[in-house]
């Protein structure tokens, strides 16, 4: 520990702290536009300048380490004026169409300018060359608004290990984007939207589907069905002033009904269905490997997260046979709604529109994949992010906070707690274990409160193992087998895990991969700004939702059981295969192809 003084307050901080970290420890706020927690500081934005006694010039708090006896003034006139000057310069080249910008009051640059009392622009600077990239289904990039803070570069390269964005060119012409200023569709972008989640301004955002959805709702001949992903309910409230992690499931349902959706359903229902299909697929693969001695791809990877699927198709095509053939819960929902449910209510699936509310931008990409349809009917028509849903609620003038708690519709609205935890890292694995263990042994998963502790939390790669004992007759071949599982979240961690597996062989049977840090609760379409403290609160909300339910295991969902009885037959049956499963193909990441 070393002693420093910040704004006349003496404080002891760990030796390797930066000024910014030290200040945060004692709740002294220093603004910053480029910093990402737990990543090396890059000092790109210069918004965090502070005065250090004895130093010739002002120091960037994010990248200056503290030293013994350091005396720091974060709010001296010199520091405040310097920061103001930096923000004025940023504003001078920024395309400030604030009236019509997607970010509005949520813009960090605008907020900072406002906080600093900048009421007119001192510099009439040259503006950045505008370029709109609308080439992908999920994301739009408006380079005229980019302030080159490089947060997106940090998350894309370091956190996600994707590397679709990097500074191109030099000087005033620097452009944050794909190789040689190409568009996103021309590079190996997985559409995860983590760039949009950290962008402080309106330079990267999701491509909106809202107008088409309003039109569908207005059209009396169209049955508009909505599904909401489990991660929405623990985050949507943030857009209306609730603490992160506050569960607003009931109000969300009420809001969707008032927006005019004909049926309000739950992606959770098909999360339970996914467990039935994916669990059966895993056990089948294990049987083939252990009993039939067939050459079968193990470990099996989960397939719920479309950014991960894109990532594997671009970067790790050798693992495509290992990915479960199950469609994601979003796509399964669309397929079931437009077959089983459409038949049940006597609606021609051509006159049904399925809308998803997802914490995710890659789901927009997934919905339009050509293989995501049955008999030419697209499973899911439109995808809204959590942020877009909040905007629709505001546009409709609904007073969200005073809405009553309402229940999801039947029959695609009932779900188990196992489905809720699909929202966070470790959740799909835990849900699968709850069901698979019980199928194989006839007994409940022997862990406290049904939580598999080693795979909870925010560690990047988590492992667990479980010796299977006391198997029932059908699964005797698994007696004594030590089932090894792993969980990764954040594609950078996934890349590390896969490189390890490539080099050393695989110690696992089953691996859960979620694209975004923390899982879907930290998705690219969630309310801004998400850091680890927000992730943990949302995860706590999700676990509380799970624990609050009587139904904790997917295979016990009576409506899923009924779906099999009345319509699908058995897991991995012919109808399931047709509606609920898919395939993957390698994608080129090179420029010359």
């Amino acid at each position: 520990m070393i002693n420093i003084t910040i704004n006349s307050q003496a404080v002891q901080v760990p030796e390797d702290s930066t000024i910014l970290q030290a200040a945060r420890m004692i709740n002294v706020q220093i603004p910053t536009m480029c910093h990402i927690e737990k990543r090396d500081p890059i000092g790109a934005c210069r918004v965090c300048l502070v005065e250090v006694e004895g130093a010739k010039i002002l120091q960037a708090a994010c990248s200056t380490p503290v030293s013994e006896g350091m005396v720091i003034h974060t709010n001296s006139k010199k520091a405040r004026m310097a920061r103001r000057f930096v923000v004025e310069l940023l504003l001078s080249e920024h395309d400030g169409n604030c009236q019509t910008c997607d970010r509005g009051s949520d813009c960090e640059l605008r907020t900072l300018g406002e906080d600093m009392g900048i009421s007119d622009l001192a510099f009439e600077g040259e503006k950045i060359k505008p370029h709109m990239d609308e080439t992908t289904p999920a994301l739009i990039r408006d380079s005229a608004k980019c302030i080159k803070c490089r947060r997106c570069v940090t998350v894309c390269n370091e956190v996600q290990g994707v590397g679709a964005l990097y500074p191109q060119d030099r000087g005033f012409d620097v452009f944050i984007g794909p190789a040689f200023c190409r568009d996103l569709k021309d590079v190996a972008c997985v559409q995860c939207g983590q760039c949009a989640a950290v962008c402080p301004v309106g330079a990267i955002a999701e491509k909106s589907s809202t107008p088409a959805i309003w039109d569908a709702i207005e059209n009396p001949d169209i049955c508009v069905v909505v599904q909401t992903a489990p991660a929405i309910r623990a985050a949507l409230g943030e857009e209306f002033g609730y603490e992160p992690g506050t569960r607003v499931t009931g109000k969300m349902v009420a809001a969707l009904r008032r927006l005019g959706f004909d049926s309000v359903f739950d992606t959770n229902f098909t999360a339970d269905l996914t467990i039935m299909e994916e669990g059966t697929e895993l056990l089948t693969r294990l049987k083939k490997a252990l009993v039939d001695k067939e050459d079968v791809a193990l470990p099996m990877f989960t397939s719920c997260s479309p950014g991960w699927i894109n990532f594997a198709e671009f970067y790790f095509p050798q693992f495509l046979p290992n990915i479960s053939t199950c469609k994601s819960p979003q796509q399964m929902f669309g397929a079931v709604a437009k077959s089983y449910y459409a038949e049940k209510i006597g609606v021609d699936p051509k006159n049904m529109i399925v809308v998803s509310v997802m914490p995710c931008t890659a789901k927009k990409f997934e919905a339009q994949r050509p293989e995501m349809n049955a008999d030419g009917i697209q499973d899911v028509d439109y995808v809204l992010t959590t942020r877009e849903l909040a905007k629709m609620i505001k546009e409709a003038n609904l007073d969200f906070n005073s809405l009553p708690d309402e229940e999801m519709d039947a029959p695609l609205g009932l779900s188990s707690g196992a489905a809720d935890i699909f929202a966070n890292t470790g959740g799909v694995m835990e849900a699968a274990l709850r069901t698979a263990y019980e199928i194989v042994t006839g007994r409940e998963l022997p862990v406290e409160n049904l939580h598999v502790a080693p795979i909870t939390g925010l560690d990047g790669i988590k492992e667990a193992s479980l010796v299977i004992e006391g198997t029932v007759d059908d699964w005797k071949f698994l007696e004594g087998v030590e089932l090894k599982v792993a969980v990764s979240h954040g594609l950078g961690n996934t890349r590390r895990m896969l490189e390890y597996v490539k080099a050393n062989g695989c110690p696992y049977h089953f691996v859960e991969v979620m694209t975004c840090p923390g899982g879907c609760i930290g998705g690219g379409g969630q309310p801004r700004f998400t850091d680890d403290s927000v992730r943990l609160k949302r995860i706590a909300g999700i676990y509380a939702e799970d624990e609050g339910k009587k139904l904790r295991k997917s295979h016990e969902n009576p409506d899923v059981q009924k779906l099999y009885q009345d319509f699908l037959g058995a897991p991995l049956g012919e109808k399931s295969h047709h509606l609920l499963h898919t395939h993957y193909a390698p994608k080129s990441q090179t420029m010359s192809d």
């Binding site: 590397g163 679709a164 964005l165 191109q168 590079v187 420029m591």
Partner: protein, 177 residues
């Protein structure tokens, strides 16, 4: 390894060039800071850095194409377009700038009908800008390949270009004006 000289104009197959590129990658990929020397050598081998070369270098260095592109576009030395037989570099360092380098550049752009970073359709001339060649006393200076030309006058650019033009039409055009 040594790379003797530019292969422009020689009869070298693409396969041979790619073989040389592989050697360059192999030699540099595990060195700290090996990317830039590899790109330099690749540019010597190919004359420029086409997509195929960028792809291969990114793969060889286990970097993304976008990151490699960021390095290439940062340094003005690197070019993504095939260069002409004559690389014309106009100095815009301080001394050359104040003594009319900008006007020289404009005149050359007009004469060759290309912008900075471009190459004429007949692949004879490429145009680049330099920042001081260390010949300030002779400003404004233009370099053509490895030769330095001093006190270049914007009004006499046609003759200046004509001395390199092997293309008959270009020579005639130069004399006419």
């Amino acid at each position: 390894m040594s790379i003797s000289s530019c292969t422009c104009g020689q009869d070298v197959t693409e396969t041979e060039l790619m073989t040389r590129l592989e050697e360059v990658i192999k030699e540099n990929k595990d060195k700290a800071g090996g990317l830039i020397p590899a790109l330099q050598m690749a540019q010597i081998i190919f004359g420029y850095l086409p997509d195929m070369v960028v792809d291969r270098i990114a793969e060889g260095f286990n970097k993304t194409i976008t990151e490699v592109a960021g390095v290439i576009s940062f340094y003005s030395f690197f070019t993504r377009n095939p260069r002409g037989k004559y690389l014309v570099r106009v100095c815009l360092g301080t001394a050359c700038y104040v003594r009319g380098g900008k006007e020289v550049l404009e005149a050359i752009k007009k004469r060759l009908e290309i912008d900075v970073g471009e190459t004429t359709e007949d692949r004879q001339f490429s145009l680049e800008v330099g920042r001081c060649f260390g010949a300030c006393g002779m400003a404004p200076v233009v370099m053509v390949n490895d030769e330095t030309y001093q006190r270049v006058k914007p009004a006499r650019i046609n003759e200046f270009i004509a001395q390199f033009a092997t293309d008959e039409e270009l020579v005639l055009e130069g004399e006419e004006k």
